[in-house]
Amino acid sequence: MDAAQALADLVEISAQIEAAVLASADGTVLASTLADDERAQSVARDALELVQGAASPAGEPVQLEASVPEGSVFVVRDEERLVAAVTGRDPTVGLVLYDLKTCLRLAGEDARPAKKTASRPRKKKEAPEAADGAA
């Protein structure tokens, strides 16, 4: 799944997310729900700044939620990319974070499709033999 499709799915699934931007680890926009590219770039840059600004001796965070009365900002990241999203006030934090992590994972699958497909058929071949033995 490509970045744009992962983001489109995210916004469709999560009714709480108003807008979202998917960016590479250096803040380059990969996909966005915003019509304006400049604003998308600005959101990605600020999201990166949030993550870097929240770093502690334990390292940089993998996810964060900044909440203000006007709404919340979520940022979830992995080694290669990050996704930032904004919601209204009092979102269901766990649900939004879960959806953002799913979006990141789906966007990441596009970059490594070979590994996933290679491991699946082997398991399926073993299943009928196990069923016969049990019966």
Binding site: S42, A47, G53, A54, L64, A66, V68, A84, V86
Partner: protein, 69 residues
């Protein structure tokens, strides 16, 4: 009679504590904060008034403003 008074007092006290808990939870919701989650599963909350929140909240406001146009 004394038993009824005790029950009523306990009920009133319970209601008061429940209302206080709801009020506290609602008032805490509206406050600014930043919840930060790390890879090892630890989580830190930077509450309103902290140095970290003072640094991060304006960035979050900027993101909200940009995202909403």
């Amino acid at each position: 009679m004394a038993r009824r008074k005790l029950t009523a007092s306990l009920l009133a006290l319970g209601s008061l504590l429940g209302a206080a808990a709801v009020w506290r939870r609602r008032s805490a919701r509206g406050k600014e904060h930043v919840d930060v989650y790390f890879a090892d599963g630890s989580m830190v909350t930077f509450a309103e008034g902290s140095e970290e929140a003072a640094r991060l909240i304006p960035i979050a406001r900027r993101v909200l403003s940009q995202a909403r146009g």
